[in-house]
């Protein structure tokens, strides 16, 4: 029977990625001393299952590296060696190596064996040169005459595809075995279920075998059995317990009942509580629900004129439909939500390496990793967050001696916090570093000709670092200043409909606050009418709207082009001409001006009328068509028509382009 394993490979890659993340965070926790034995076990299990998967799916080179990883971890797990800084370093670099291998395997390639060699060599060197603690135990362990092994499989062991006989057979290759099988749990033939295992074993293994080698044999079944491996007492010591077991006593039946009940259940539960679903299936579901919402809205609109007395039952049904549809939509959207921890998890490692490279001491605290956010957003958040954290470590936190001189602890604290706040997700990156240097920023801005007069408030000064080409670093370092500036970060964030604010105090630190919508799939929009067309403005961009008075309108070059709003002059954009909608533009005093803000600038969009606020399901224009300038996407109105969602940032940018031309 030929099974095509290639279709399971994707699942292996995903699991390997998860496993690698577990290993990395576990290793970092071990390094910081924040870990307990469970962490070590989790790291070991992750390595172990990657190894198993790699071997099964035909990636022998991945299996090889993970095998070494696992051996070292196993030694740490059974206490025969300590994990010091050098071990953690080696384990982390091996983890990186496996990650690169998995990435290569995903592309159908194999990593060059030469690149693996140093990693393997480092691991092997550590294994062959055990630490003093290990050396002290080792002679004792290997000097033992053998091992007394108690192997009590769970009844379901056979269903996992493992065969205890095979293990016992393997065991025999390690030395001379005395095997006693306990058959006392075996039921009468009529009650016997063929796929249940009723037996357990006690094995005396005589010989020089290492404990690790013995445990290795049981590695596949370790979650499905209770296993004891104790050194065999020098030649048949008359332990009363040993005497009982030899004749297969009924007394030993009690042991399996109490033992296995302890560990495995949490694992089983964790497996059942989630399923892996391809994103496109979820997206299809969301699309269908979006359709349902639109259809429901259309029916509601059509039924609005019905006589409530005559059609009472129908109208009741419709209101039920509305409620259920809304709940369904919420539930389906929730499927896409993922904890931000999935993106946060990469940062401890990054900060650790970066701090090491710069000779700084940084403690990274993460809060609110469970805060949920749309998966699409989370993936696109990784780059801006990486950049901001890197900046904080590079520019924000000072060298230890500088910090001590300033009366601060040598190690800087960097915190990354996430929380929900009034329908938005707020991410905060706080450091207790040097803070932004107002004078230096101003000097640089003057140098580059970015400002004509000095801004008054700090907030305005901080905004300058978002200008293209602005970098506060004096020199280009390996870490930052490679041409990607805060302007790119802000662009990325505004592409996610987010906002970035800075608060900073010299010598005290800097706080960056990032506000994002929960999802990009739905936008709170204001519908506006221009001629026979309806446009949707994202509510987050809208500041206010007003009917211009003749005195508020200022002309430039004979055309009304500036609007006086609350003491400032705002450029006017007539949506009718900007978006080529037919019809005459009515006089401005009869139109409505909607003030929108994007990228720190404001424009007044002139529309015929405001229709109202409504949530809009965002559809892509580019999937069947292309990107349109000034348009963020499309949505479908209650009557089934398409309305364009305007992109205020794009419109603002277009305006400055037009001015520059």
């Amino acid at each position: 029977m030929a099974i095509d394993v290639s279709r399971f490979r994707e699942a292996f890659f995903d699991e390997a990625d998860e496993g690698l993340a577990t290993m990395e965070s576990g290793l970092l926790a071990l390094e910081n001393g924040q870990a307990d034995t469970d962490t070590l076990h989790a790291v070991f299990r992750a390595a172990h299952s990657i190894k198993g998967g790699a071997a099964t799916f035909g990636f022998p080179d991945i299996a090889e590296v993970t095998h070494h990883l696992e051996s070292l971890l196993d030694a740490a797990r059974n206490g025969s060696r300590e994990l010091g800084a050098s071990e953690i370093d080696a384990l982390l670099s091996a983890t990186d190596c496996v990650r690169r291998q998995v990435a290569a395997a995903r592309e159908g390639e194999t990593l060059d064996h030469d690149t693996l060699a140093p990693v393997l060599a480092a691991l092997e060197a550590l294994q062959s040169a055990p630490e003093p603690t290990a050396r002290a135990e080792a002679p004792e362990a290997s000097g033992a005459a053998g091992w007394d092994i108690r192997f009590v499989p769970e009844p379901h062991l056979l269903k996992t595809g493992n065969d205890p006989i095979a293990i016992l057979r393997e065991l025999r290759t390690l030395g001379n075995c005395e095997v006693a099988c306990d058959i006392s749990a075996l039921p009468a033939l009529a009650e016997l279920t063929p796929d249940q295992l009723y037996l357990d074993w006690r094995i005396r293994l005589h010989g020089e075998a290492q404990e690790a080698a013995v445990r290795e044999l049981f590695a596949w079944v370790e979650d499905d059995c209770a296993l004891e491996v104790v050194p065999l007492q020098a030649e048949h010591v008359e332990e009363p317990e040993a005497a009982e077991v030899a004749p297969v006593a009924a007394a030993s039946v009690e042991a399996p009942a109490s033992k296995p009940a302890a560990a495995p259940p949490p694992v089983a539960q964790a497996e059942q509580s989630s399923i892996r679903v391809p994103v496109d299936k979820v997206d299809a579901l969301i699309n269908l629900v979006g359709e349902l919402v639109i259809t429901q809205a259309a029916i509601a609109q059509d039924s609005a004129g019905l006589d409530p007395v005559k059609h009472e039952r129908l109208l009741n049904g419709l209101s039920d439909l509305e409620r259920n549809t809304r709940h369904l939509q919420e539930a389906v959207m929730a499927v896409r939500m993922m904890p931000v921890g999935t993106v946060f998890s990469r940062f401890p490692r990054m900060v650790r390496d970066l701090a090491g490279k710069l000779g700084k001491q940084v403690k990274l605290q993460m809060v609110g990793e469970a805060t949920e956010l749309d998966k699409g957003l989370i993936e696109r958040l990784a780059d801006p967050l990486t950049h901001l954290l890197r900046n904080a470590v590079d520019h924000g936190i000072e060298q230890p001696e500088v910090r001590i001189a300033a009366g601060k602890p040598a190690a800087g604290t960097l915190s990354l916090a996430a929380r929900h706040e009034s329908g938005q997700v707020v991410l905060e990156i706080t450091d207790d570093g040097a803070g932004l240097n107002r004078e230096r920023i101003l000097a640089k801005a003057r140098d580059r000709g970015l400002i004509n007069q000095d801004p008054a408030t700090d907030a305005e000064v901080w905004q300058l670092i978002f200008e293209p080409g602005f970098s506060t670093a004096d020199e280009v370092t390996d870490v930052s200043g490679r041409g990607v500036g805060m302007d790119v970060v802000r662009k990325n964030i505004s592409a996610l409909s987010g906002r970035l604010d800075i608060a900073s105090e010299a010598g005290v630190g800097t706080r960056l606050t990032l506000r994002l919508p929960l999802t990009l799939a739905i936008v709170d929009g204001m519908q506006v009418a221009v001629g026979d067309q309806i446009f949707v403005l994202p509510l987050g961009d809208v500041i206010e709207s007003m009917q211009p008075q003749p005195a508020d309108i200022e002309g430039v070059g004979g055309r009304p082009s500036l609007l006086r709003m609350r003491g400032e002059f705002v450029p006017i954009v007539e949506l009718r001409s900007r978006f080529g909608v037919g019809g005459e533009q009515p006089p401005l005093t009869e139109a409505i001006a909607v003030l929108v803000e994007a990228e720190g600038r404001r424009v007044a969009l002139v529309v015929d009328a405001l229709i109202g606020q409504q949530q809009a399901v965002v559809k892509s224009l580019a999937s069947n068509f292309r990107r349109v300038d000034g348009v963020a996407g499309a949505t479908i109105l209650g009557d089934g028509r398409v309305a364009l969602i305007l992109d205020a940032a794009d419109i603002v940018r277009g305006l400055s382009r037009a001015q520059a031309a």
């Binding site: 639109i294 067309q533 999937s623 479908i636 089934g640 398409v642």
Partner: protein, 169 residues
């Protein structure tokens, strides 16, 4: 080049033991056109479209096709034929072209026809308002002539502005 493509396709068809191909035929003014039936997703009546700013005239706008935003092209305008009024018979052919869905407005849909390779001729060199680059051949059915369109190539062409050509940003 075109002739070669047609000839190659004919050979492929013959080798596949399937000498005829099926075309959906439609009418634009006085002319009858054919597109590969396999590209056709469905045929619908004409809905009101939402206009797209700064788009060429033949790009009527976008419509909502069960939740998907689909651009709509008026082939009559594209081919610079006389303008027709949209009426009850105006239909939209929804085409499925390499991961994209595009609607095409035509006067009416006439038939589905199987053409054998002996019924397909190379397009002659003719000065026409129709861009000959997207004509793969001429079909002859009794006394009717079908203009066979490379609809996928046409929709992908730069001037259609259907696809983002701005690669560099």
């Amino acid at each position: 080049m075109q002739a070669q493509a047609v000839a190659e396709r004919a050979i492929e068809d013959a080798e596949a033991g399937n000498a005829s191909r099926e075309f959906l035929t439609f009418v634009l003014g006085e002319e009858e056109y054919g597109v590969d039936i396999l590209k056709v997703q469905e045929i619908r009546g004409y809905d009101t479209v939402t206009r797209i700013p700064e788009a060429p005239e033949f790009l009527k706008g976008v419509v909502n096709l069960r939740g998907t935003i689909v651009p709509v092209i008026d082939l009559r305008l594209k081919f610079h034929l006389s303008r027709a009024d949209y009426d009850a018979f105006t239909v939209m052919i929804v085409l499925n072209l390499a991961e994209r869905v595009v609607g095409v407005v035509v006067d009416r849909v006439s038939d589905v026809m199987a053409l054998g390779s002996d019924q397909i001729f190379d397009p002659p060199e003719f000065g026409s308002t129709v861009d000959t680059a997207f004509i793969t051949g001429l079909g002859s059915v009794e006394d009717r002539m079908l203009i066979l369109l490379d609809i996928e190539g046409l929709m992908r062409s730069r001037e259609m502005q259907l696809i983002d050509h701005a690669i560099q940003q």
